[in-house]
Structure formats: structure tokens, C-alpha cells
Symmetry: C2
Subunit: 384 residues, 2 copies
């Protein structure tokens, strides 16, 4: 990106890491072969592709043949939902991709609390005898609230055991979209206790339109895209060799730097939050005070217009979001802010500031200073 | 690719053109923004993305809002098939992606003639009152036979008019997978007379896992992947900005050089064909003698084992295919060769040689010489 911008929207998109691009580069030109071709240079490309899948699987504590490579989180989510027939439980603060996939099926939306937190208890109450899928994101993309996945996994496990106990063979699976937060939270599938997990390369400094769906070995997926039989017949189409190799590099880097980066971002975010709250005591911080992604800061300035602030900040070379990028596109109030019960005059003045690789102590302090100036100007303007 | 290989498998995969990579490069890093974000650097990326779609549309004589960007031809085909409810007519020599999409629906397979040619008459006979989709590839990927799309379009048009005449509102559409041959045949959608058209960037020196489905304005598509509402709600997921920009560059280059390149490849292919036939008069050329892609040469050496030949040629640094890359993966005889009635002992000795950008007069002559040596050696071995 142009180095003169201060980018505070890492949850919407991330620039590709130079190491990721370096890893991909040979597969654009020199090693361009179709991995299904029979000669050894193509077989070697097939091996590199499989090795990248192996590396991805290792990063989440899974086996390579449990991964299906997709064109991103949205496709992964659709593949997970498309593989089940029964009732679905998800939450009213989930990403549009999950909500849209739920809405075309029999579903129940669990309600978030005011912190954007989905309790295991509320999931338990929503499960019906016909429920086959529970889908809760690892972390909310707008608020950064980290969900109690392990507790929810316990609830799903109890339901599964209760069904087995009464001879009911209706399956029930737990899916999580872990796209948001994979750079900051441990995503070992066994420790999370999930059955299905979605990841997206574009959120972790990898290529766009590259994702995966992990499914535990007992889960049977139904192909949404049929054809040449790639990805064990679950997702046909000539493999995105460069993309998957870039994804593997990105996930390895994310895993390697997770602890350090998460702590670094938390320090920066806490400092930004303190400075803004000191200047505007009436500002409202949303998201869970404790269980929140280190780089996420959702802050509302009552009675201000977030779109005006985004524009004013952009003029000062600071890039921020009003909500999730997808939702922003519709020009409507974020469903997440409505769900957590923010009053309209608070919700409409909300910014989502998300820190990441491009954030430094220096540019975050600079951003704080500029945001304070511009918010002050807006408050002065509106109270005149 | 390593310059010491002679690559004769352009139908399976193509190396990315350096101009394509140059066009994509800024969108990996500097211009990485989510096109749905609200600030002007992201809006500018959105504009570049839309401009690339506009350019793609122009290359096929269509309008930008009639394009849906996908992760490749297989997804495009699945999207086209998934949008119709009724009976489907396709051919027994189609690509696996089309056959697989047809097989999960009520369908009729039109039989190819011995040249891999699908007559409009045979399509006409297969259309039933419930037929809603006819899908015939522009050119067959194994044989290179170019299909009489305009004649087939006439048949579909007549059926549509007959239905309208009797007040029957069942729609009928013509879809073509034009992935194979877009670099060599005019693909103006109006001139082809199709209603739906699939293209793939990976076959024309563009990135892998990038494709499009064009649908005429009257055709209503049903989304297979729901979520954030991208691509007018037909195909959700954060846009593959770099990929689509690379695709637009690749298609522009293909259109610009089509005439010259098609003639150049035809000369090279004809020379290769003559040399091989002169050396092996018993060899069988498949595909239409006149209506055939310039770069395609399908040749069978009776009683030889194609897999052995592929291996022997690879040892001499010449890369060829036994059939389509996808089919090769299954280790079974090509369904196309069975469909055109090649005797097993002829089919099993078949090579698909496909020329393209990496082909020169020099390396094609060199390949002819090496193929002749190796085939001679194989015949000597088998007749001992």
C-alpha cells in the first residue's frame, strides 16, 4: 500500500506478505503445469501442492486428506452448510456468508449478548432433535469478540451422546468460521473441539479467493461443484497451485508469529482505546472486554455520522471502516450492532479499527491524534 | 517453465504471460484493499475491478453486468447447470465438468460422430418438451474439434419460438464452455448465438482458478454460493481483484493475437502431423479434418501403450498428454475416444499434442524428430 496511509482496516483485507508472494511466484510461470498431468514436472507440482496441504493441515492439527481447498471462506461455509440436511443453529451476529447459508435452510438464530458473546447455554437451548449443524464463528468480525468454542463444543458433544444413547442416528456437527482471528488465536481443531472449520487466506496476508474447509474424518461432505474429481471428488476444478502454496506460507507465518503478534497488537490497541476514551469519555466500546481479538477496537461516538468520519479520516490519510466491508456495501445499519442492542444514535457513529502487520507504535499514535482531532471537529460542528 | 523442456500440452495448462503477471502484481500488495470498503483507495480498486470486467465483457461482445466472476470453468458450468430445473442435452464427448453436472440431472447425451463432431440435427432430435439447457463445448478439449455452435443455436432458437408459438413458457438456453479454443476462435456471444458462455483464464496464459460465466440478460441465474452479495448476489465472496485483472489482460492479449496465433499454430501443427504421418502411415489422426483447433493434434499409434510413450518422451524432454489431464488422473481409457469409436488397441496408443505460446518452428521440428525416434523404438520393441 502507499506508505503514506495509516491502515486501520486489517479485518477487511490484508496485503500479501512478501514471503507469500515469493513462495507463489514460481508456480505462476516456471511451474505452471496442471497437477493432473502425467509427466514428472507436473507430478512434482502435484507433490508441492500436496505438501502445501499437508503444511496447512499441520498448522491446525489435522490430516491433509481432511482438507478441501476452496475459493475462500464464503465457498467453504456454503460447502459445510450444503452438506447437511437438517436444522441449523447459528447466531444473529454471524457474518453474512453464514447468515445467508442459514436462511435458505430450517434454522434458529441464537441471540448475542450486549458484548457480542454467544453463550454455550444459549446454543444448548436452540438445539432441536433435528439440528444437524451448529455454526459459530471463532471471533466476530465486527466486534472482535472471541466465542467460547470449547464450551459450545461440549454442548454439541453432549447432544451427540444423548442421541446415541437413545439410538438416534441424526448427526450433529459444530462448524466454525475461523477466518477472523486465525493470526491471533490457537486454531488447533482438536483443542477447539469442532467438526468443521473454515479458513481464509486473504485475512492472513495470503492471496484473495483462497480458502479451505476442514472436516473431521467422520463428516461426509456433499460436493457443490462437480467435475474432474479434484479434492477427492468434493470440489472439482484444476487446483489453484500458487494460491494454495501461498496460503500454506501465510498460515505458517501466522502460526509462527501468533503469540508475539497478538501481544503486540493488544498493546497497541489498548493504547489507542485509552487515548480515545480519555478524549471522549462518552464513547462506547463494544465487544467483550476480556475475550476480544488483540487488534480489534470497535468504538462508537454517539450522535456522530460514521460515514462522515470515515471520509474525514481518509482526507487525513487514515483508513478505517464503519462495519464489516460486506455490510458497508449495502448502506444499511450493521446487523451486529442492532443485535447487541446499540441505540441507533450510538450505532450510527461506530468505527471499526483493526490493527495488523502494517500497524506500528508510531503510526498508531499518529492515528490516535488524527482521530481525536477529527472527532473533536465533528462534535464541534454538530453542536454549533 | 524450464526452457529445456519442449511443452506440447498447452490444452492442459498454460504458463502465465509476463504481461498478465505485471498487471496483477500491484493488487497483491500495494492495492490490496477490499473492493467493498468505503474509503477512496478501496473505491479505486473497485473501479479497477469493474473496468477489468468491462474489458472482459467487451472481448466477448457482452455487457459487464452480464458477467459473473467465478473460480474457474468448472464452477461456471456448475452455476449454469444449477440455474435450470428441467432436462439437459449435452454430448457424450464433453468435459468431465459438464458430464458430471448433467449426470445429477435429467439428461440426454447426444452421440458424437467419429470426428468428434456434434451435429445440430442430433441436438434437435435430443431436445424434449422439458429441455431447458443445451450445453455443447465450443471445441472438444481432447480432439480439438470445433462444434457448429451457430447451427446448434439455430435449433435452440427454433425450439424456443415453437414453444412461444404454442404458449409454452418453458425456457430453453444454449450454454457453451468456450475455455478450449478462446485463443483461436472468435467468441463474440452474439455471433455464436449462445445464451450462456463459460471461460477460463488458466487456458489462455492467465491465472489458475479464475473464470467467468456470461449469461444473456434474460437468463436468470441461481446463486450456488450465497453470502455478502458480491457479483450482483449470484456469487458471493470477496472479489479476486488480482485474478480478474489478470484474466482481463489475458483475454485481451488472446483476442489481439487470435488471428496471427491461430494461423501460426496451424502451420506448426500441420507440419508436425505430416512428419508423423510420413514416418508412421498406420497412425490415426482423430478430430475433424477441417473444423479443428489450429494447435491440436490427436494422434494414435496402434498397438502401442501411450503411457510408455509419455514416459519415454519425457526422458527426452518432450512433454505430451495421453488425453485430458483430468481424465488421465483416473487411469481409465478416455471417454471421448470410446465415444468416437476408436478401437481399444488404437485408443490406448493415443497422444494429445497441443501447441501454444511456447511452441516455435524450431522446437516443434525437434519434437517431431524425437517423437519419431521414440515411436520407432517402441514399435521395434513390441514387434521383437
Amino acid at each position: 500500500m502507499s506508505s503514506d496511509f495509516i491502515y486501520l482496516d486489517h479485518a477487511a483485507a490484508t496485503p500479501m506478505d512478501s514471503k507469500v508472494l515469493t513462495a507463489m511466484q514460481p508456480y505462476f510461470s516456471e511451474l505452471f503445469y496442471n497437477p493432473s498431468s502425467p509427466y514428472s514436472p507436473a507430478i512434482s507440482v502435484r507433490r508441492d501442492y500436496e505438501e502445501a496441504k499437508h503444511q496447512l493441515a499441520q498448522s491446525i492439527g489435522a490430516k491433509q486428506d481432511e482438507l478441501v481447498m476452496t475459493a475462500g471462506a464464503t465457498e467453504s461455509i456454503n460447502l459445510a452448510f450444503g452438506s447437511i440436511k437438517g436444522h441449523v443453529v447459528t447466531a444473529n451476529i454471524e457474518h453474512h456468508a453464514v447468515l445467508a447459508a442459514a436462511q435458505i435452510r430450517d434454522h434458529t438464530l441464537v441471540e448475542s449478548d450486549a458484548r457480542g458473546f454467544i453463550s454455550a447455554e444459549s446454543v444448548k437451548l436452540a438445539i432441536k432433535p433435528t439440528t444437524e449443524l451448529v455454526s459459530i464463528a471463532l471471533a466476530n468480525n465486527e466486534l472482535g469478540t472471541i466465542q467460547p468454542l470449547r464450551d459450545i463444543a461440549q454442548v454439541v458433544k453432549q447432544e451427540r451422546e444423548a442421541r446415541l444413547g437413545r439410538g438416534d442416528t441424526t448427526p450433529i456437527y459444530l462448524h466454525t468460521d475461523a477466518s477472523q482471528g486465525v493470526g491471533q488465536i490457537d486454531i488447533n481443531v482438536a483443542r477447539l473441539g469442532v467438526d468443521l472449520l473454515t479458513l481464509n487466506a486473504a485475512k492472513i496476508y495470503g492471496p484473495k479467493q483462497v480458502g479451505l474447509l476442514w472436516a473431521a474424518s467422520g463428516v461426509r461432505l456433499s460436493p457443490q461443484i462437480v467435475g474432474g474429481g479434484q479434492e477427492s471428488g468434493i470440489r472439482s476444478g484444476t487446483e489453484n497451485v500458487a494460491g494454495v502454496i501461498g496460503f500454506a506460507t501465510a498460515l505458517s507465518l501466522a502460526s509462527e508469529h501468533r503469540k508475539y503478534e497478538s501481544e503486540r497488537l493488544t498493546v497497541l490497541r489498548d493504547s489507542l482505546q485509552s487515548q480515545l476514551l480519555a478524549a471522549f469519555p462518552e464513547a462506547v466500546i463494544s465487544g467483550h472486554p476480556k475475550h476480544r481479538l488483540g487488534g480489534h477496537l470497535h468504538i462508537s461516538f454517539p450522535d456522530l455520522d460514521a460515514e462522515r468520519i470515515v471520509f474525514a479520516l481518509e482526507n487525513r490519510r487514515v483508513l478505517v471502516a464503519t462495519g464489516s466491508a460486506c455490510a458497508a456495501n449495502f448502506g444499511t445499519r450493521s446487523h451486529v450492532l442492532t443485535a447487541i442492542g446499540l441505540a441507533p444514535e450510538v450505532a450510527d457513529g461506530s468505527l471499526r479499527l483493526t490493527l495488523g502487520h502494517l500497524s506500528t507504535e508510531e503510526n498508531t499514535s499518529e492515528a490516535a491524534r488524527i482521530i481525536i482531532e477529527e472527532i473533536t471537529r465533528e462534535y464541534n460542528r454538530t453542536t454549533k
